[in-house]
Subunit: 406 residues, 2 copies
Amino acid sequence: MARRESIQSGPGSQALIVDLIRSAGPISRTELTQATGLTQPSVSNIVRRLIETGLVRETGRAASQGGKPRTLLEINASAKYGVGVQLGFESITLVATDVRGGVVGRQLVNGAGSATPDEVTARLASLYRDFVVAVGLPAASVAGLAVVAPGPISHAGGVLLAPPTLSQWDDFPLKQALQSALDVPVIVDNDAAAAAIGEFWSRQVSRTESFACVYMGTGIGAGIVLDGALYRGSSSNAGELGHISIDAQGVPCHCGNRGCLERYAAPEAVVLAALEERDALVSLELGFEPESLGRDFDQLSRAAVSGHETALRLIQRSADQIASATVTLANLLDIDRIVLAGPGMAVAGSLYTRAIRGRLDRSFFARRAHSIAVDLSANPRDTAAIGAASLVLQGTIAPGHGPAFG
Amino acid sequence: MARRESIQSGPGSQALIVDLIRSAGPISRTELTQATGLTQPSVSNIVRRLIETGLVRETGRAASQGGKPRTLLEINASAKYGVGVQLGFESITLVATDVRGGVVGRQLVNGAGSATPDEVTARLASLYRDFVVAVGLPAASVAGLAVVAPGPISHAGGVLLAPPTLSQWDDFPLKQALQSALDVPVIVDNDAAAAAIGEFWSRQVSRTESFACVYMGTGIGAGIVLDGALYRGSSSNAGELGHISIDAQGVPCHCGNRGCLERYAAPEAVVLAALEERDALVSLELGFEPESLGRDFDQLSRAAVSGHETALRLIQRSADQIASATVTLANLLDIDRIVLAGPGMAVAGSLYTRAIRGRLDRSFFARRAHSIAVDLSANPRDTAAIGAASLVLQGTIAPGHGPAFG
């Protein structure tokens, strides 16, 4: 079954109204009716439910052209909070956002490393409890927790399926384990998909634009938003940009494919290539350890941006390879906009942006019909965790519409 | 703007009801209400409109459990006909279908070759007139004409944008020219997209399945159907499978990209490779002329299927390359089903099917979450023309929902 959340379905209408109040509020019921095309009774019913749950509140009145003045509606940003957790080998980021998507708390701690899933789950549970208290969120207003990690995942089951850098997590029932430990709703999702939702919300991208978020963390993925809804694919594993082949005769990948983008362009591959030229990079003091991968890549990125010849060549090659894969994505989906995000884009994002823009200008198949906007995320490191928190809130705003809580 | 036809919108509901009557009819209004989730008044209104236009008719009554017997509805297959034309360099195929998708007429003639667009337009107009008369379609019941060709196209403008094998057609206003000549509604669309719609209709694929049609004509393309609707992309140029790179260092392509699948795996590339081994293929009597490309490829395909060593190696390489690109498509879209179609699949389709199945089983990223069904079209040569005729009828059944007539 293709899982794709439609805006026209019942819960979708509620989400649409919340979106409108959030982006265009304070706004009247009449304006909502005009903007959505829904019937007046539908809008009134949905607004009544939203006021009952506290997500929306009435705020004063606007003068009307004749007739009685209209009551205006606004989002009650502090009615609910979502907590998003980005689970990585090297680091774990926790973020809390309010209903408007504003970040109200953030914490960065050491990653899962080689600890067992049971150990990490216990740590996540304790981190979550402490974080909620430290940020000062009333327990009743926390809608839940979303943990995002590199794919593949079983979205429905809340299970990570052999994530590349967290291999001992294979089939571990993370969602169930965290739910039991915390007694709050838990979502497990893909980091790139969460980042796409985060960017979509925070940028207020038009619902009529098709949009992809190219995400570089440990691996490389893409979140795809079509007509204002996350496109998940049949098993919630769409957008595996890191596992498209850029060389049919290339190196075999753990995923079963050959010549995967990730094996050449992701931080680990770039740092391994740097290891072979370490003499030219001695000034950078790279660690070349699994624990220093992110720092090493940041160092190389910084040197590249400052014009260090060897570092620039290595980062530029990664950027060119991702650009080539992005042309593939664009030629298959014919999209309007690409946003680059993820920790891997945090330092040298400008080089990646330029490489991808240039390649699309030269090689995108439908470039004569339209151009594709390429932007860098305003917050590349945290966008997946922020998106995760948004996923939690989406589930609250439109139950059954966003990702299912189980 | 992402053009994607939603089934929940107004005209979409009408299309949904037509689909249900077509696939599950004779069927009562009550059953339609239950199956669609639409309100009873909506269903009654839509059915009334469909009866008025003659697309649907009442046919007897079914006994009801208590209460008055229910009137049953069925499609009036001969209410409307659509004409689909596949425009190619070597051949032009005309097909007429009724509302049920049944083929009521077919004609195969010489292709556009190197004639000017004006000449070909005049020929198409005359072919269309003669065809409608020869098949015996009453003028009033012909809903219109759809011409499909390899992309890129401007769907809204009805213009072919520099199609690779019809390069002098660049920017020629085909839709407008044919409409003026014939005074019937004209659609211009991509052949792979039309084939996907044709396969989707004729196979009665579930609306919840995501589905791609991998199409090999002169080039290679893919039509993508998500949630029961053709996914067109921002400029109706989604699914350009032939222009995804399978070798970043590969040959430059006219499209601006490098190492495009088409340059290695499409019929022309395979026949060019055969030319280099002509001594081993002398028994096949290949023509090696632009006009004989399709026949040469069919000959090679036939020899490959019969086990001719050199031919098999050439066709197998093409199949393996398309399989590799299909893994890319699957990893980005996480789809449920792939159907192979197009003249290039007509003879050696079984070899392509096997190669793609095998690669997906080994290399599809989410294969542990679900498998992907791979089928060969029942009618690989005509499926784009049949799909084109379906596009015409879709526009009639749900105005504003299917491709717009202008």
